[in-house]
Amino acid sequence: MHPRETMYESEGLASAAPAAAGSTGTGPAGAAPQAAGAAPQAPLLRPRSTKPGPPMDAATFARLSDGIVAAMNTVIDGKEEAVRLALTVLLAGGHLLLEDVPGVGKTLLAKCLARAVDCSVNRIQFTPDLLPSDITGVSVFNQSSQSFVFRPGAIFANIVIGDEINRASAKTQSALLESMAEHQVTVDGTTYLLQEPFMVVATQNPIEMEGTYPLPEAQRDRFMARISLGYPDEAAELAMLESHQSVNPLDSVEAVATAEQVGAMVRAVAAIHVSPAVRAYTVALGQATRNSPALRLGASPRALLQLLRAAKAAAALEGRGFVLPDDIRLLAEPVLAHRLLVERSAASQGATPSGVVAELLGRVAVPGPPNERSG
């Protein structure tokens, strides 16, 4: 996520949207002084060590992204799509929600992504008695210096794995979600910025719902994408049994990119071109979800913004300098489906959010060149 958002603590997304949209050229350069300007009122736990450099060139980008994908694929067999999507979310500066039954490799995917990128990783196992301070950190009194010292919580890492996020209480969930959106933590009136890149990979088990606190819609909206890993196919499962029986494959994963390189990749993604036609297509899709009779709740403006960002990342991974409607199509289901609420009557007839998104994709026209005649 973009560092500039730290300046808009209470204005939130409405102003973050133009900031992100206009950041293509000037954002990275202009953001650093602003972040620095925030420092006097809130001492940074870890000030940004490096100034954001220029966006990465295409060749390096391709080499690094291919390396990350290849490293992850050696660990997770037969899940190229999920791996690619996870990387897409990382490069788009979003957060990932992995929702699936236990034992299909949700945590492994998250860990593997963290390992492939040389950056700090924290893991939080969410339980009902987990407290917000366990996540954000706590100020303790230092007897020797006669002052309060902030001890950072588990959230202070580049990649945070939140396991079984729906098992924690709503209060604890909120603490996590606030830091996800703002890339910052506020304890005792003091704001601490989080590290960049910052990504939360939360997992959720949809089967065992007893004693859980399911994420409300408003909070699910903060995850850029949701992935269901699903079971591997026969060949992948055989390969997995072969490779995982004796050694932990994670051990063999070498870091491919540094945190700084990932930051440059994120900036390169931000510079990807989005044509008016693609923007129009994104908006048309959003309007369609809001007008669809099968849906109780359509896609929010934030959802569309994140869809566009994810599409830019996907385009960059393809080595393309501009977004195609195909990118939007590809990401519409993972980005939009978990935010939509199906009308009860439609649900009783078997409608699912994914099904509705697929139906809308088959209906909404893809805009052509802007100078074509139109009625």
Binding site: E178, E217, P301, R329, R363, V364, P369, N371
Partner: protein
């Protein structure tokens, strides 16, 4: 902590940027769907009504008056109304054509058969019978009459039914099928009758009305029903669409007005003047002379007139006369004012001196197959009995014209009175007759070719008396120098009337009665003898019928289409109008005009049964052997059909081929644009070629050109690829991305052409979705893309070779992309989103 958490980030369900635009709640479901609000369907119905009724004005020349217009307007309105009503409910909208058809039936019933219907509008079996009867009557009028036919009730019914059907077709095609461009077919249906049957064709105004109407439909459909879905909400006003349509329309109308100057249209060439669909007989064509020739060439042996006559031989029956020799086509002179209706006590002007001995004849005429507004009678009738309708006697020309009826199916008795003509009598008439008659019988236009004067002077020689001169002229024309031929004038291009035709005739010395009679009439005037041309029937063949009436024995005769004839009548002072027969092998030469040197044929004519004087020959009845021509129909060329059939075939082929031609032209232009960039010269020349095709293609071309000025080679190439795929049954899906559409097209082209396909796809994607500076750089006007053009040609060739022959034929003759707009062009996203 809680406060801090609340401060972070916007609440999702808070007022977002688009909260105000969200519809409050889905509207309640209704049985028939949500009613379509707004004026769209009424505006569209009004546009179609206006277009059809405006186009119908071109029927002006086909029907004699405008009495058909109000009932037709009612029927068309009744057809469009139910369709517009049904479109209020989306569920019922597909049944709009059924409603239109019901409205059509009801409208026809209300206007034409209220007596047979329940409550005046519900049709009964009696209504159907009445309709069939009326249609049969209309068929008779069409087959026997020539344009303009009288606007009798039957014709009004036919026209109203036809226009109602056209309304049904246009409504269905433009709205239900969402192909407004094809509504031109309906308007062309309306324009066909005037184009095929009248001399003037549709005319500039008719064409302008039709084109304006068509553009009205097109523009309104485009704005009010884009993609066949009615626009909802009444407050929207057409933006630039209508003004663009108007501008386009003006260009097209101007171009089309210029086209007839450049190429032969309906009025010349393939369709000779006065051609009509029926092969009956008649004399009300615009050029009577031409019509006569057409009749003769038709070699129709259908009986036009039968008559019983008190004379022993068949008679010349006159319909009308031509006396005004000025102008391009000779016309009967207009009826003088102040004529009284009625056909009793008829007398010619100038009157025949009562001192002359005369013969009285009785003729009982039945006009079976003759539709004319002129009544066939022998020369100088005195009274007519049993005649239906209102007729006017013109004493100057001695013709009888209908005021409000026709000759169809009449049976009447004519009493006629002719002075007994003899050579001596005529030879004595030496006084200059010019002062006795209306000047119109002596006037000649200024442009009389010299050859007429010299020929007349040569033929007359040193003869003095008018009678001798007239006989000399007749002898000259009947001499061996001249030959009778129906076809030579047509082949040599001097058919019809007019001075130039006569000059050609005197040079070629071959023609038929029209030429002989006109030549004699004109040359007589050159020699100072008043003259006119009588048009009617030469003496026909006798039938076995005979009957007694008023104590006189009547013998039966009949005249067929082959007997149509023209002959000169000359005026002699103190005698009156005297018919002559200059046409060789036709009619019969009157005794009084036989060569002066020859002895009078005493045995030439049998004595008339009842005459007051000693044996004389009735002027209008001399024995005839030439009438035997009636039988010689076999082996004759049907000249008018010969022209009509290939003409119609060509027209039909042209109409069928127009889409294919337009498609080929569009493809060639697009390829040229891809290859050379879109220089404006390319576009201009192609508009010109396209307008030749037809109005529809022209609109398409102009519209295309307007778009393509902004189109880069990549876009044009992609559009052409989509259009070709559409032709071959794989229309692009609007909801699919270019890449997915390309994947579908790949199934048409096969794997071998994937490289070319990728090239086109990627260049299109880069142009549309890439950075604007990049795409602009790649597609600057004037920068051609040879590689794209080659890839496009490869792909088109691949698609064509892999298609089945049937698909190829369909794609060539009925290119689907020509009838539906390319899907890429419809796409503005808000339209695609569900309402």
């Amino acid at each position: 902590m809680t406060g801090v958490l609340n401060a972070g980030g916007p609440r999702y369900d808070g007022p977002g940027p688009d909260a105000g635009n969200r519809p409050p709640s889905p509207p309640p479901r209704r049985l028939l769907g949500e009613p379509t609000k707004g004026s769209a369907r009424w505006v569209l119905a009004l546009a179609m009504f206006g277009a059809i009724m405006a186009t119908s004005l071109s029927l002006n020349g086909v029907l004699a008056s405008f009495s058909w217009w109000p009932p037709s307007a009612v029927v068309v309105a009744a057809t469009l109304l139910p369709a517009a009503l049904l479109r209020r409910w989306p569920v019922l909208a597909p049944f709009a054509p059924v409603g239109a058809m019901a409205g059509w039936f009801l409208g026809l019933t209300i206007v034409f058969f209220p007596a047979t219907a329940i409550l005046g509008f519900l049709p009964t079996p009696g209504t159907v019978e009445a309709a069939v009867e009326l249609a049969a009557e209309a068929a008779t009028v069409i087959t026997t009459g020539a344009a303009p036919v009288p606007a009798v009730s039957a014709m009004s019914f036919l026209v109203a039914a036809g226009l109602g059907f056209v309304a049904l077709v246009i409504d269905t095609v433009a709205l239900t099928l969402a192909v407004p461009a094809a509504s031109a077919l309906g308007l062309v249906l309306v324009m066909l009758p005037p184009a095929l049957t009248t001399t003037d064709g549709i005319g500039g105004w008719g064409l302008a009305c039709s084109a304006a109407g068509f553009l009205l439909i097109l523009g309104c459909s485009r704005w009010y029903a884009p993609g066949g879905k009615l626009r909802t909400g009444g407050s929207v006003h057409p933006s630039g669409t209508l003004s663009r349509a108007v501008a386009l329309g003006t260009v097209v109308v101007l171009l089309m007005a210029a086209v007839p100057v450049a190429i032969p249209g309906f009025s010349k060439g393939a369709f000779p003047q006065g051609t009509r669909l029926g092969q009956g007989s008649g004399a009300t064509q615009l050029d009577p002379m031409i019509a006569l020739g057409v009749d003769l060439r038709a070699q129709s042996d259908s009986v036009a007139v039968t008559y019983l006559s008190s004379t022993s031989t068949a008679q010349y029956l006159r319909l009308n006369t031509l006396e005004d020799f000025t102008g391009k086509a000779w016309q009967p002179s207009a009826l003088p004012d102040g004529l009284k209706a009625g056909v009793t006590g008829l007398a010619p002007v100038p009157a025949v001196p009562s001192t002359l001995p005369r013969t009285r004849d009785l003729t009982w005429i039945s006009t079976i197959g003759l539709q004319s507004s002129w009544l066939p009678t022998p020369l100088s009738p005195t009274s007519i009995e049993n005649l239906d309708g209102s007729w006017v006697w013109n004493p100057s020309t001695q013709t009888i014209k209908a005021k409000s009826s026709s000759t169809l199916g009449q049976s009447y008795v004519v009493n006629s009175e002719m002075p007994v003509l003899s050579r001596d009598l005529l030879a004595a008439a030496t006084r200059n007759a010019g002062a006795d008659v209306d000047p119109i019988y002596t006037q000649l236009p200024k442009d009389v070719p010299k050859i007429l004067r010299t020929t007349a002077a040569e033929a007359a020689g040193s003869l003095q008396s008018p009678y001798a001169k007239a006989v000399a002229l007749q002898d000259y024309l009947r001499s061996g120098l001249f030959s009778y031929s129906l076809d030579t004038p047509v082949e040599e291009g001097y058919d019809g009337s007019g001075m130039k035709v006569l000059a050609s005739f005197l040079q070629k010395k071959s023609g038929y009665c029209v030429h002989f009679s006109a030549a004699m009439a004109v040359m007589s005037r050159e020699l100072g003898i008043p003259s006119r041309i009588a048009v009617g029937y030469a003496p026909g063949a006798s039938t076995d019928e005979s009957r007694m009436r008023n104590g006189r024995q009547l013998r039966g005769f009949q005249a067929t289409g082959l007997d149509a004839h023209a002959w000169p009548e000359l005026y002699f002072a103190g005698v009156g109008w005297v018919p002559f027969e200059p046409t060789p092998s036709r009619g019969s030469v009157p005794d009084y005009s036989l060569e002066l040197s020859a002895p009078a044929p005493n045995d030439g004519g049998p004595t008339a049964p009842v005459v007051e004087e000693n044996p004389v020959q009735s002027a209008s009845a001399t024995p005839s052997t030439a009438a035997a021509a009636a039988g010689s129909t076999a082996g004759a060329t049907h000249a008018s059909q010969w022209l009509l059939v290939p003409g119609t075939t060509l027209l039909v082929l042209f109409l069928l081929g127009a889409p294919a031609l337009a498609r080929v032209l569009v493809r060639r232009r697009r390829l040229a644009q891809v290859r050379d960039g879109n220089g404006s010269t390319v576009v201009d020349t192609d508009i010109d070629t396209d307008t030749v095709a037809d109005a529809d293609a022209a609109i398409e071309a102009v519209a295309d050109a307007a778009v393509d000025i902004a189109g880069t080679p990549s876009l044009v190439a992609w559009r052409e690829l989509l259009a070709t795929a559409t032709d071959y049954g794989c229309p692009a899906d609007r909801s699919l991305t270019p890449a997915l559409n390309a994947a579908r097209i790949a199934q048409l082209t096969g794997p071998a052409a994937s490289g070319a396909l990728d090239l086109l796809l990627h260049s299109y994607e880069r142009a549309v979705y890439g950075r604007s500076e990049l795409s602009a750089g790649a597609g600057l006007s004037g920068n051609g893309r040879e590689d794209l053009a080659e890839a496009l040609e490869t792909l088109i060739a691949r698609i064509q070779t892999r298609a089945t022959p049937w698909q190829r034929l369909r794609a060539t003759l009925v290119p689907a992309s020509f009838f539906t707009r390319a899907p890429g062009r419809r796409g503005s996203p808000e339209m695609a989103a569900p309402k």
